[in-house]
Symmetry: C2
Subunit: 115 residues, 2 copies
DNA sequence: TTTTAATATAATAATATTTGAATATATGAA
DNA sequence: TTCATATATTCAAATATTATTATATTAAAA
């Protein structure tokens, strides 16, 4: 239903320590709620709340196995986000080349402190 | 200084419509605040606040050109995030193959509705 | 040197997110 | 049937984020 939720909304939802941890686990395979209770130092209701939010946004889904709900990743964007989160970056982006132009003004001027 | 801010914190900061728009613009080149006032239907102080938050986190930086502050991207993760946000994804991830195992239980059971 | 343009900062109000506590539901077992 | 287990839902309190308004800063221009 809510497949309309924008990418930024998805990013926002994913950008939470508990939810990233959950998604990281699910990226390794299906997990039920009590499996997740192992890793996360969160109450069961809170974990369920995070799972429900992720599911409402179409980011994960589950199948039912008896008393268990077995969650798994659904939205492929998650894989890419997780990859970025563990990627190594070397240094900052190169600063602007000399004399870039903005609509209102022109370089050069004093560069700020921490560059 | 705050280079310690974790990746998830960066993700969280970036996951805001105004800030994503700002970063998208900066990814095309240096922009000063009043340039940004063009695109964004936000007050000048609010734009400055978003810029300040992004700068505190080391995501962007600026140089000074007279009365202007010319902002540019600093953290390379932004480029990857922007790329993901405009990437095309075709369909959902494949569901779990038959009979994956969770610690607590085993497939199969009823699959949930929207798969 | 006063004024103006560009931008930043501070304080607050409005709103959203997060967690915790209590309770509900559903399923398999006894 | 009743019970226990696994999980979800609801509501409220605590907290964080966001936008607004007013004011401050800084540098160039007049």
């Amino acid at each position: 239903m809510n497949v309309l939720i924008s990418r930024v909304e998805i990013l926002k939802l994913v950008a939470h320590p508990a939810r990233i941890t959950i998604l990281g686990e699910l990226s390794k395979g299906v997990k039920c709620v009590s499996d997740l209770e192992g890793f996360l130092e969160l109450s069961q209701p809170n974990i369920s709340q995070h799972l429900a939010a992720l599911r409402r946004a179409g980011i994960i889904d589950y199948f039912i196995d008896g008393k268990l709900r077995c969650y798994f990743l659904k939205n492929p964007i998650v894989v890419d986000i997780l990859e970025i989160l563990s990627k190594e970056y070397s240094g900052d982006l190169p600063g602007p080349e000399c004399c870039p132009t903005t609509k209102k003004g022109t370089y050069p001027g004093k560069r700020d402190g921490n560059v």
